[in-house]
């Protein structure tokens, strides 16, 4: 029942790496009758680990944090809650609204301003339950600069892989396996989607199943009449299709 949901307290979580910032928000929220503060996280890793258990309706999220930024946290949690960003930096505001944030609070903010944001969140949650934040987060970044690191969630752990450590990426059904630092990480994403996010000058789709980091290529050898193989610096061999070879020739 919508009316019930409207009167039921909202489960809220604060994610901020600065103790005083969490403390201030906690204190402000203490005076809001309809808010039930169920948890606090001091960094993005904690958030990714705790949020699936806490299942909050509303997230107060800092952007600049160690390890994972606020945007990256959103990318990793399912289902995404309603988000109110709280940060001292105004240059992220545009991106925040691109991913349909409920509101954007600039530190330091007043309790009145916070009340406005909370009202807006209640309104939003009342009208449409599901917010497609995560896919929009990816989309928003896709329009800007290329991906700098790939995030992989394994259970409650998050691996952060800077793209320059990636050797190659292989398609495996609905997953991709990312080969970096001699290890293999599985990520639920389509190869084509990941290809669109990476820097096309450094990462080339050489085959239906492979994206290769061109810095890792030692040499290219003829394999059969129409196909070639790339020999990586560590000796591994990857198949190259004819159209893949055309793309590679342009980059090398």
């Amino acid at each position: 029942m919508p009316s019930d949901r409207r009167s039921a307290p909202l489960r809220a979580v604060i994610v901020d790496d600065e103790t005083p910032a969490r403390q201030l928000l906690r204190e402000y929220l203490g005076d809001f009758p309809g808010i039930d503060l169920v948890g606090e996280c001091a960094n993005g890793f904690e958030a990714v680990k705790l949020l699936p258990e806490l299942k909050p309706d509303l997230l107060f999220l800092d952007i600049q944090m160690p390890k994972l930024t606020g945007f990256e946290v959103l990318e990793l949690i399912e289902p995404p809650p309603a988000v109110i960003f709280a940060t001292a930096y105004d240059q992220f505001a545009l991106k925040a609204f691109e991913i349909h944030a409920v509101d954007y609070l600039l530190k330091p903010f007043s309790k009145e301003r916070l009340a406005e944001a909370v009202d807006r969140a209640r309104e939003r949650l009342h009208h449409h339950r599901k917010l497609p934040v995560a896919s929009l987060a990816t989309e928003a970044r896709g329009t800007g600069t290329p991906l700098e690191r790939v995030l992989i969630k394994e259970g409650s752990r998050v691996h952060v892989i800077p793209v320059d450590r990636i050797d190659y990426i292989e398609a495996e059904d609905d997953y991709v396996s990312i080969h970096a630092d001699g290890k293999k990480h599985l990520k639920q994403q389509r190869l084509t989607e990941l290809e669109g996010l990476l820097d096309s000058q450094r990462f080339v789709r050489v085959h239906r199943s492979f994206i290769i980091n061109i810095d890792r290529i030692a040499r290219i050898e003829l394999y059969a009449k129409d196909s070639r193989v790339a020999i990586l610096k560590d000796g591994r061999q990857l198949q190259i299709s004819r159209s893949g070879y055309e793309k590679l020739k342009d980059r090398l």
Partner: protein, 353 residues
């Protein structure tokens, strides 16, 4: 003041040129047999020296009628009239001198013979006067070029000074916003802490304005400011931000460009500590070796951070200031690994305070 009369060298050169001219005029009088050697010399030498200084007066005419902004024909007419007048006066003055010499040598024909040379001397006088005027225009053009060059240099110095001042004065506004947020948080839970924090913040701002207004300060002052800054940041970051200092006493007194280290310390916090879940220790070191001051700022950093493509704007500013003030004598080097980031600044330690 006439530019040719400002130095002994230029006067000597000018007079020497006129001695040559005097010799040529004398030759014109001797070769046809009008005058003997000594008589020609006695007549022409004083006349030439006098005329040398008479011709200088056209400098002011040349200044009044600049070549570029005046009709060239008009300039020529003005100068020609002046040359005719000057030459006439000169020939008549020469006539008086010839009369005096005539009575000195007891030669009744002396003046008569001089009088016959009126047209020749008058012509020479006009040509010489115009020649000197031409020299004046060359001198004026040269002076203008030099003045323009100096003005451009002064402007450049002024612009550079303003730029350097601007580079010194940059305070990151986010530092202020975050600090004010901490004060807001402390007000109810720890009123004393809030008071201390606002006093420290005010102290830091006042001190950075005061030091930023000076071009050079002592290392001691710069380090005190960095300490203020780090104490404020420690309220935000808590135990995540630790600081170690190792500064030798002889380094503290060296004079350095003001607020040179502040951006390095700020970077160590915002690009280092702020990205680490458990934080770490920033190390600041300063020492003197021979005639140099070496300052190092070291901070741990996150191995998974996105790598910067080059030095950030803060480091670029410091490098620019060093090269502007010390040329190749000042340097900033960066050592970057997966685990830490280190900046080493080296500059001459000539001045102390």
């Amino acid at each position: 003041m006439h530019p040719l009369l400002t130095g002994r060298g230029t006067i000597a050169l000018y007079v020497a040129a006129w001695l040559v001219i005097a010799a040529l005029i004398a030759a014109l009088l001797i070769i046809p047999g009008t005058f003997g050697w000594s008589a020609a010399a006695m007549l022409v030498l004083p006349m030439a020296i006098v005329y040398a200084f008479m011709c200088l007066s056209s400098y002011y005419l040349c200044r009044a009628f600049p070549l570029l902004s005046t009709n060239v024909l008009k300039v020529f007419i003005v100068l020609l009239v002046a040359a005719v007048a000057t030459s006439a006066v000169w020939v008549l003055a020469g006539s008086a001198w010839a009369m005096a010499l005539g009575s000195l040598f007891n030669d009744a024909q002396f003046w008569e013979r001089y009088r016959l040379q009126y047209p020749l001397l008058f012509g020479i006088g006009v040509v010489l006067s115009l020649l000197v005027a031409a020299v004046h225009y060359v001198i004026i053009a040269f002076e203008q070029a030099r003045a323009a060059e100096r003005r451009a240099y002064e402007l450049r110095l002024l612009a550079q000074g303003a730029e350097l001042k601007l580079l010194r004065a940059q305070i990151d506004p986010h530092f202020l916003f975050n600090s004010l947020n901490s004060v807001a948080a402390l007000i109810s839970s720890d009123p004393d802490g809030a008071r201390t924090m606002s006093v420290r913040l005010a102290g830091f701002l006042r001190e950075s304005l005061r030091l930023g207004a000076q071009e050079f300060i002592a290392v001691r002052e710069e380090l005190a400011l960095a300490r203020d800054f780090l104490r404020i940041e420690q309220v935000r970051f808590g135990k995540r931000l630790q600081v170690e200092e190792s500064v030798t006493p002889d380094a503290e007194t060296v004079i350095i460009p003001s607020l040179l280290l502040q951006p390095l310390v700020e970077n160590a916090v915002t690009h280092g500590i702020a990205h680490l879940v458990d934080g770490g220790t920033i190390r600041i070191a300063a020492r003197r070796t021979a005639a140099r001051l070496i300052v190092e700022v070291w901070n741990p950093c996150d191995a998974d951070r996105p790598r910067s493509k080059g030095p950030g704007i803060g480091l670029q500013n410091v490098r620019y200031r060093l090269s502007t003030l010390y040329g190749s004598d000042g340097s900033l080097e960066v050592e970057e690994t997966n685990r830490y980031f280190r900046v080493i600044v080296s500059l001459p330690s000539t001045a102390e305070r």
